[in-house]
Symmetry: C2
Subunit: 241 residues, 2 copies
């Protein structure tokens, strides 16, 4: 497999960075080829902006998604975006490693998505979910957080963490067609000791060694929705069969 690891942590010695490094080690040892986009190390610009388009279709009025489509078709997207687009397009597995900030990605990773998941190249119109351009590729989220599992589960004060991350898991990765594997979460990270961190790292390494058995999350299928993308009433319900 070709693996693209996109990593977003401001501290190179962090536990999240250790999770990233463990992934690179395990996947390399298993014979996969790895590319890493370390967003902080690259000083990646996360701000979607008119300067992203070298030859805009309309330089008087920016509609970002329309310029993405035009920029991709004409090969005039800015170089930093194009580099990342090509990395994603050639990977078989996209692995995101980051600390959860406000039940979401850090801004630098959100901006990588805003700028790199280009309309036209990744999705367009009804080419989403099982018709998205990334169909056939897998995506895996590995995220760390300060909270305990008891706070971010059904019955926890914030609710289920994977539900909280639905904008990323479904609304982004699933949307463009990835098979989204069940995410891996490391809880309570700033407050635990070496032994517990070692256990988490071991569990993470074991997960990576068994990726082919890791279940994918259920995503919407276009065939279940009508032309307005509302759910079709089944013909049995309507009594028309």
């Amino acid at each position: 497999m070709k693996v693209l690891v996109v990593h977003a942590h401001p501290e190179a010695k962090s536990f999240t960075s250790a999770m990233k490094s463990a992934a690179v080690d395990v996947l390399t040892a298993a014979g996969h080829s790895i590319e890493v986009t370390d967003l902080y190390a690259l000083n990646f610009n996360p701000v979607a902006n008119a300067a992203d388009f070298g030859a805009p279709k309309n330089d008087e009025y920016l509609v970002y998604a329309l310029e993405q489509r035009h920029g991709f078709e004409t090969g005039t997207l800015s170089a930093d975006i194009l580099t990342e687009v090509e990395k994603v397009r050639r990977c078989d597995l996209l692995l995101l490693t980051f600390p959860i900030y406000w039940f979401s990605t850090p801004a630098i990773l959100k901006g990588w998505i805003d700028r790199v998941f280009v309309s036209g190249a990744f999705y367009g119109g009804r080419r989403i979910y099982d018709r998205g351009a990334m169909v056939g590729k897998k995506a895996l989220v590995c995220a760390t957080l300060g909270g305990r599992q008891s706070m971010v589960c059904d019955g926890g004060i914030h609710g289920d963490l994977a539900m909280m991350l639905r904008p990323l898991l479904q609304g982004t990765l699933g949307y463009v067609g990835f098979d989204v594997l069940e995410p891996f979460f490391a809880y309570h990270v700033p407050y635990i000791q070496h032994q517990e961190r070692t256990e988490i790292l071991n569990a993470w390494r074991a997960s990576l060694g068994a990726l082919e058995h890791r279940p994918a999350m259920q995503m919407p299928a276009l065939a279940d929705f009508d032309e307005t993308l509302s759910r079709r009433l089944s013909s049995e319900c309507l009594g028309t069969t």
Copy 2:
């Protein structure tokens, strides 16, 4: 009321920007005082970084939330953060105006949250939701999107939009204690005509004129959760009363 408008759109002539300007007009005419943080105009830096802390507690190993707490206590947060923190602390209503990118805020706004919603000043430990530091203030989200309402409702392919925005509405604004008013959404914006945009702007102006009647979303209450922040089983369920 003191109102802080935080606006994030890369095109100053956009419909989202018109929504922001309409808010400033209507709220000013109603006698409120308004401050605006226009993130693109400010060229706001959205990347949480070691440079955010003038006198870090630990300059060898960055734990972002811990440095936020220390930086706030010692008054050594970077000036751009401190300016925004003070704006939020003195407002009665926080209004966010932005286009939805990937079922979430644009990165520049996500980074405003990452850097400005400072641990210690906005929340800490169990000082969250109805015990968060922003209790007594209101927050309102006004967001535009390309999608139609039929795609982002119950039964739509992406599910309910307010559920998709739960990381922001509950996990961020509710978390720090704001009364989170029902959000205002403008659908299908790049594809509609002048007449329909005018109707949306009129509805938005009318909403702003009736803010005191706008319902707040339900948020968790700390009293319903135990010390691990799991939901308490009611004493009736346990049969112990």
